[in-house]
Symmetry: C2
Subunit: 290 residues, 2 copies
Amino acid sequence: MAEPANPDAGVGGLVRVRVDLGYDGTDFAGWARQPDQRTVQGVLEDVVRRHPPGAGAPRSLVVAGRTDAGVHARGQVAHLDTPPLPTEDRPPLADLDRLRGRWNRMLPRDVRVHRLSVAPDGFDARFSALRRRYSYRVADPLALADPLRRRDTLWHARALDVDGMSRAALALLGEHDFAAFCRRREGATTVRTLIRLDWSRDSDGVAVATIEADAFCHNMVRALMGALLAVGDGRRDQGWPAEVLTAATRLPDVHVVAAHGLSLDEVTYPDVDALAVRAEQTRRLRRLTR
Amino acid sequence: MAEPANPDAGVGGLVRVRVDLGYDGTDFAGWARQPDQRTVQGVLEDVVRRHPPGAGAPRSLVVAGRTDAGVHARGQVAHLDTPPLPTEDRPPLADLDRLRGRWNRMLPRDVRVHRLSVAPDGFDARFSALRRRYSYRVADPLALADPLRRRDTLWHARALDVDGMSRAALALLGEHDFAAFCRRREGATTVRTLIRLDWSRDSDGVAVATIEADAFCHNMVRALMGALLAVGDGRRDQGWPAEVLTAATRLPDVHVVAAHGLSLDEVTYPDVDALAVRAEQTRRLRRLTR
């Protein structure tokens, strides 16, 4: 047997493969496999099972961000663990780029695998991620409503004050309990570190929010967007999102905006040396806080 | 009766309304109305007929660029002539922006009207246009194939030399007989002035061509793209597109590329004073050369 490229990957000398991908979430019931639903994980695992990277069936995909129905991804990251082939047959993970081509030819056009690579030691798509970055696109009356972008852009009937939304967002930055913006899950922490949240207009005048955090709890990005849009179109004043945050319980008047404006654009991982340490830290933290 | 805002518009004191619009061409059989086909003109005229800008039915839409099936538009321009209402009822063209809102609520989401305005004297969407600018998007293996942009981006299997394509295009600039790149139409001139044709990569690495001319004959943009892609991926050398141009007859080995990478991005008109002169020049020129 070949030496496993990733000794941390688990039992049986499995090799861990990192999968970088993007998808148009419009026609998917989200990332996570569900019976009788078209999901990104389901579509991708069907192709992986027919063309596995190694000998034998790989395990389930583990993903950095479990996107909801209708949410898109430009920079999603997943991993899978697979038994390698014996070296005497061919290299353990022969020509991952050719395999990627084969997968893309079999995949529907609303999913693309951008890259396949052998993951470095200690890499875990979910637990070693340092940060997730999302964008949210809104075309208001000041922007060009481009029909070609209607699947990833919310059309908002009232004009938005983009600078006002960025100023209102400043009070949300840093480590806070985001319970007011999260769907409650028994026993799970809602403390997160919001690293970046600001708005700008692109060349079509479309208002684009950039949102980055160590991680997000469920509905958090879309609830933050709902609170800021209320500021941007004048229904609420600039201090309101910070008041909501302080309330620390889920408020019914925070609107969770439509999924289709949202895209997971980037997942950031630490340098190779720090990977295993980061994954262990994250796992321990989640255990402690449950 | 109110004074017609545009005395050049034709008989009966009609008012000419300029319509700026965009569409996702994917599900349309092109711009021009055809029986039993879903066309942009057909969809738009149905809404215009139900909510005309003035009293009575407006005439047919006249468009700057009659796009083919599958071709998109971000900056299409059309006009329509409509009888105004008597001023004693309400202003002749009351609140065109509200009318635009109503049209957009009735239109399918793959067409958006960006602006309605009373056209200046002498304006003709087709004949007074000075220039049409198109873009063509190609994602090669060096680019990120974003599933969200699959409807307006050609996925090309071979890597492209973008600078090489721009250099090859230099020899095509200026006034030439583009017969080699045009579908023949009996009696019509194929002499056009190519003002701009160059390539660059956007932030995703997608190769984007910008093509501008006084006007284009049928298939011309897509045939030019086919010739340049052959240079870009190494099937032809840089001098080949200029040789094709010189041949001056339609060559079977010039590939007309797929429609869905193409979008009409902008139509440029002269200043108000020069409008009528330009329209008359164009009409005369087309008459002379037929």
